[in-house]
Amino acid sequence: MAREITLNHICKIEGHANLNLKIEKNKVKKCELQAFEGARFFEALVIEKNIEDIQEIVSRICGICSSAHSVCSIQGLEDALGIKPTAQQKFIREMLMFGERIRSHATHLYFLALPDYFNVPSILEIGKEHKSKIDDALKIITLGNQLVEKFGGREMHPFLKIKEEMEEVDYEKILQQLKNTKPIIMRTIKLFSEINYPEISRETDYLSLHQEEDYAYIQGKILSNTGKFETEDYKKHLVENIKEYATSKFVLKENKPYMLGAMARINNNHNQLEPETKKILNEIMKKKDLEFPLKNPFYNNICQAIEILEVVNRTIKNIENAPKKEETQKIKYHSGHGVSAVEAPRGTLFHEYKIDKNGKIIYCNIITPTCQNLNMMEQDITALVNELLKKNTSKEEIVKHMEKLIRAYDPCFSCSTHFLKVNWE
């Protein structure tokens, strides 16, 4: 007997999505995760625009990762013009990414994921004895906001220019705040590492930026199980597909699904973590009897909590070594082609631009992390539901588990939906 499970307007995710599941002979026959939003065509909106207006536009792709889109677009355009950013520019950009990572992970962990594990509809119903968790969440988010505001002029859609110079900044207050927030972050790690997650384990490919010296944020090569490749070769490895049922693109690597985001980064780059983060992660791994690579997608939640600490430690380290103001290179327009990849909170984000001799955009291609995770999510949902069906689990329980799993991936459908294939004539 065939049955269908449909989840319409899944809540507590960023953006709008539906899930259609078809079950036949007690096995999943079809699993379709579809973004349910209108298309915004960003890759077409920037055509013929001047390079100086691009960051302002593409930043609006996503409210939760506007720093990532801003930094990625600026780096892509610089690459097209052959401009090398100064140490101070890199510093500012990393700060924006750090602030964003902190607030994005905290928002996801507390507001979107946590209610599932307390069996409540939202964090507001979490119960009197846990009320302080709302304050913890808001405090971490505020820390992230203040970092982005300090270096980007506002908390969201930061101001970022190719030609950016910054005078001396007073770091004392921000350093103090970073240190003050640490106990809250330690509580967060404890909370999310002690949750009883459903037990699943599967092999897959993990993809992220990678650098030998540091935990990679805005630079590096692309690392996966099959080795490393250069950012500009992304199209040789990652292929965008369109599925009839969805407004988003689906991306495959060498024809197979892969995973990105916090867990992929931790799996690929745990050797580059700051000493304190490494120590705490190792303690958790030992307690849970785990080894790398982590194989349970629910552990993405733990990895996000760990990353908040990592980002805070890295921010402190970077501020202590803050570079001085440097003269930036003069911009001269000429035709060119550039690619950039950065680690957005949800994974590797790619921006590619071609510009003409007057500095106008003639081609743009953007691949967001969620588009790359969609295939993996469908595959994991299918595996999870098949396991649950074997145990004769009720429909309500299956739905609950599926939603938990989808949220563990922290998908962003706002980002994912707006990239449709564009043909130029």
Binding site: E37, G38, R60, E244
Partner: protein
């Protein structure tokens, strides 16, 4: 004790940035303290079936489902509050209205059985809107003032000066004087001239200042040496539809 106002916070097609702004400490604490937050799908999964006093909406109408959602929400609430640039003026997605689709590009849609594209438009093209909290992203200060205002039952007053007023009072060097296309003179203020204060031109995200003289402004840009395309590029970033429809906009901003 007086019953708290029933409030909902919803999003149609958009970037979720306005919804996230509502989640920021300053706004969220005010919201859960002063009103009864009945629905907010971004952070709660229960489905409230009753009616609302106020519904905040983020986003631009980009496909048919957005209109269906808007109509449903309008029927359930006394007041609709357009939250953020997309909701108030259509925002960045409205650039699509000005692309020359016939000649320069052909957008290839995948085969959607149910989804129907709509020209990107602000929500007041589809439903009656009672209040506007513009800007991209909306100002936390304005959101907090609005929540306090409705909670007290007071009348909300819109800001009514161009961006230049706040910009001058801050003592910022004028970007137009530096020969840059800044939309400050024709854009509604209330943002504290945030962009010019960061040495970035005003892109008009709060929508037109209604008494602006668009003819005089565009003539000035012409004298500064800018052509139509260069003006279009800036004016069509957030509020192109409104500038086009405004008096004086006809000459410069038609399709």
């Amino acid at each position: 004790m007086k019953e708290k106002l029933k409030v909902g916070v919803y999003g149609i097609t958009g970037c979720a940035g306005c919804l996230l702004t509502v989640l920021y400490e300053e706004c969220f604490k005010e919201l859960i303290e002063l009103v009864d937050l009945k629905a907010f799908p971004l952070v709660r999964s229960d489905t409230y079936k009753g009616n609302f006093d106020y519904i905040f909406i983020e986003g631009t109408v980009c496909f048919d489902e957005d209109i269906i959602v808007l109509n449903k929400l309008r029927k359930r609430t006394k007041y609709i509050v357009a939250l953020g640039a997309c909701s108030c003026t259509g925002g960045v997605p409205t650039i699509k209205n000005f692309l020359d689709q016939e000649k320069t590009l052909k957008l290839v849609y995948p085969a959607h059985n149910e989804l129907k594209e709509e020209d990107p438009t602000p929500i007041n093209k589809h439903i009656k809107v009672d209040y506007y909290l513009p800007q991209c992203p909306p100002s936390k200060k304005e959101i907090v003032s609005f929540i306090r205002c409705i909670a007290k039952g007071e009348v909300w007053k819109d800001y009514n000066d161009p961006v230049c007023v706040e910009c001058r009072s801050k003592g910022n060097p004028c970007l137009l004087d530096q020969n840059k296309i800044c939309l400050g003179p024709i854009t509604l203020g209330g943002c504290g001239a945030l962009c010019p204060s960061n040495d970035v031109i005003c892109y008009g995200c709060r929508g037109p200042f209604k008494d602006a003289n668009l003819d005089a402004y565009t003539n000035m840009l012409k004298k500064m040496g800018y052509n139509k395309k260069e003006m279009h590029d800036k004016m069509r970033t957030f509020s192109g539809l409104q500038f086009r429809d405004q008096e004086g906009g006809k000459t410069w901003l038609e399709k």
